[in-house]
């Protein structure tokens, strides 16, 4: 009864303090739409600048214009769904092209030299000698450059191989690794964005906890018959509902912009619920450190960023394996249950993983949640619910 009374109270308070609740609920969907605007939900097109300086030559009585032909190959290169891989722009000014690369308005610049056809002719006549060359400009730190260069190289080699009738020593058969079609950048971000929605519970949960301390009402609760477990339990149930709602809204936003999955929604929600609990456990630790709502909105931002960045929500992190368990490496950032949640969501939603495929991640989240909860309850009680 006390549990129910507190649950009703905290639920009403969350509804009435709607600004922070709305922020928690809409943060995930907002990032989904933002990432969608940046990446789109289909395979990416790369901006390819081409400076074609090649001069046509005569070979076997006919005109050989290899530069133009290669350019045509790049232009027509397409994904299995028919979408063009490159947006090709022919340019003549090298400096302007370099500026575009630096500003990342373009991903790759290829220069076809003036002797491209000539060298190709020599090679075909002698079946030996200097091979034609291409000049490639780009920023190796830019992932889109690397992807564009990879596609461009493959198309170039295939074109030369077909023209010279020299077989490539290696043939690469590109196969999608998931759901029967290729995963794009956005697909890979969706699990992280879903976890980001759950991480926002850190604020609502910690606010619910610390508010009682900040406003002095904790003394009233301490004097009452309400136990620590009833207090924390009621807040946890309420925050799990908020976490689940945030997760659901973020998932719906992803579906809205075209994200497709045939993974188990039930399994996804179970992992989400468990992960919400883990974030609540961490929020207990955060609330134990601070004393006021103001501190939550200042100092509390730091653990939020730690969770956000070290859970692989924003960008890939260097992998530091601590140990391996049944063939599963446990990385340094896996001590954050949300990092394991990103992996679990990725497996479920992008690779149709079932329960058995998730035992490592689920066990990890479960164990870490239990540890964080025990630590959080002890520390919160020690700091705020102790008779000093």
């Amino acid at each position: 009864m006390r549990f129910t009374a507190y649950l009703q109270k905290t639920f009403k308070e969350n509804l009435r303090e709607w600004k922070i609740t709305i922020l928690a609920l809409l943060f995930g969907p907002f990032f989904v739409y933002m990432m969608y605007a940046y990446f789109g939900t289909t395979n990416p097109s790369y901006t390819l600048l081409v400076m074609n300086q090649d001069r046509a030559v005569t070979f076997s009585g006919s005109r050989l214009n290899a530069g133009d032909n290669l350019l045509a190959e790049w232009k027509k290169a397409a994904y299995p769904d028919g979408k063009r891989i490159f947006k090709v722009q022919e340019i003549t000014d090298l400096e302007t092209a370099k500026k575009e690369l630096k500003s990342r308005d373009a991903d790759l610049l290829l220069i076809v030299p003036s002797d491209f056809s000539d060298r190709l002719r020599s090679f075909m006549e002698k079946k030996a000698g200097a091979v034609p060359s291409l000049i490639n400009y780009g920023d190796p730190g830019h992932t889109r450059y690397l992807a564009a260069a990879s596609f461009a190289d493959y198309i170039s080699f295939s074109f030369i191989s077909a023209l010279t009738r020299v077989d490539l020593p290696l043939n690469v058969d590109f196969q999608p690794i998931s759901r029967g079609h290729s995963l794009n950048e956005f697909d890979l971000y969706v699990p992280a964005l879903l976890v980001l929605a759950i991480i926002m519970v850190l604020f609502t949960a910690a606010a619910s906890l610390i508010k009682e301390v900040d406003k002095g009402t904790m003394a009233r609760l301490m004097l009452s018959k309400l136990t620590t477990l009833e207090f924390i339990g009621a807040i946890s149930v309420n925050q799990m509902l908020i976490g689940l709602a945030a997760l659901g809204l973020t998932f719906l936003a992803a579906l809205h912009v075209g994200y497709a999955t045939s993974g188990s929604v039930f399994l996804f929600l179970c992992v989400g619920l468990l992960s919400s609990l883990s974030v609540i456990a961490i929020s207990l630790l955060v609330a134990a450190i601070i004393k006021t709502i103001f501190e939550l909105l200042t100092v509390g931002v730091f653990p939020f960023f730690i969770l956000m960045f070290f859970s692989d929500c924003m960008f890939p992190l260097p992998r530091i394996a601590l140990f391996s368990l049944a063939g599963h490496p446990f990385y340094a950032n896996d001590i954050l249950p949300t990092a394991l949640t990103v992996k679990a969501f990725n497996k479920i939603l992008n690779f149709n993983a079932g329960f058995n495929d998730l035992i490592f991640e689920l066990s990890g989240i479960l164990i870490l949640t239990a540890i964080y909860f025990l630590l959080g309850i002890w520390f919160f009680r020690y700091r705020h619910m102790r008779v000093r």
């Binding site: 006390r2 009703q8 109270k9 406003k215 009402t217 018959k225 008779v387």
Partner: protein, 319 residues
């Protein structure tokens, strides 16, 4: 003044001390509180009142000493959820985003009051404290005075036997003060009330017994009448002289001094507590005239608790 209905002891404090680092906030304090009495717990700012109340409520662990209830020594753990204690803290401690009714009902329920009873008690208290028409208003929308009344009601909803009221009337308008005073009065004999206040008049009107502490130590503990008697018999006679030369007048008045009363002077005010003050008046006036001093004001009044309080704790400002 309400008679103490039951003389049996409700709460006993024995050698209670509490230190914050080097500061001894409460220093070997001992007293007992009787069942059904209104116990005025007085002291200047920083005297250790709130610290003592916190220890009596189980919110603060004593550095030394014990607290007994009905003869049983309590540890901090024992206090958790003791239904018979109600606390109204000095600051307004309410749930701002809950309505008045919701939070009173909630308080009842976390003290295991059956839901219907909790609501009934909540409505009753809202009526008593003049908040009936605000029952469905969020607490944050109430005026400061209303919030303070709600603060008191929150301490009462679970029907405690011992009620701690830490400056319940601070910040209340005169109407609310009367309402709260009347309510506290109505509790006499039904509930043990420990009342701290800086309003000596209020304490005098309400308290069966008064305990005055300063710097964590007990200075006086008795009924108001007995404590006032410590200043001596008779009324208080005050002469204000414009020249602020009260001290100069003392030697000329000393010859007139009636026993056991005595003259005291501070700045321009000379005081005498005596049963014979009226008889001495013509002689005093003559002495003032002889000295060429200008009489600003002259009063004969009853001694108040504040007089005793100032005598015991001094006039120096506190933190």
């Amino acid at each position: 003044m309400n008679p103490i209905i039951k003389k049996d002891m409700e709460l006993r404090v024995i050698g209670l001390s509490h230190t914050y680092g080097d500061l001894t906030a409460v220093d070997r304090l001992s007293f007992d509180i009787r069942r059904g009495e209104i116990f005025g717990f007085l002291g200047p700012n920083g005297a250790g009142k709130t610290t003592t109340i916190k220890m009596m409520c189980g919110l603060l662990r004593p550095s030394e000493g014990t607290i007994e209830i009905h003869g049983r020594t309590l540890t901090a753990k024992d206090w958790k959820g003791l239904r018979f204690i109600g606390v109204c803290p000095q600051n307004i401690v309410i749930w701002e985003t809950m309505t008045c009714l919701e939070q009173l009902e909630f308080m009842g329920r976390i003290y295991d009051l059956e839901r219907r009873r909790a609501k009934q008690k909540a409505l009753e208290l809202l009526g008593v404290f003049g908040l009936g028409d605000k029952r469905n208003k969020l607490a944050r929308t109430l005026s400061g005075g209303m919030q303070r009344r709600l603060n008191i009601a929150l301490a009462l909803v679970h029907e405690p036997e011992i009620l701690f009221l830490d400056e319940p009337q601070a910040g209340l308008d005169p109407q609310s003060r009367v309402l709260v005073r009347e309510y506290i009065k109505s509790l006499a004999g039904k509930m043990t009330v420990v009342l701290t206040t800086h309003d000596m008049e209020e304490a005098e009107k309400l308290s069966d017994r008064v305990c005055i502490i300063d710097r964590g130590r007990l200075l006086a503990l008795d009924t108001v009448a007995n404590i006032k008697a410590q200043l001596g018999q008779g009324n208080l006679f005050e002469i204000e002289i414009r020249e602020e030369a009260g001290q100069k007048l003392l030697p000329y008045l000393s010859g007139l001094q009636a026993q056991p009363g005595r003259f005291t002077a501070r700045d321009g005010t000379v005081r005498l507590i005596s049963d014979e003050a009226v008889d001495l008046l013509p002689l005093i006036l003559q002495k003032i005239k002889e000295q060429g001093l200008h009489l600003e004001n002259l009063r004969i009044r009853k001694k108040t608790l504040e007089d005793v309080f100032i005598r015991l704790t001094g006039r120096g400002l506190r933190e």
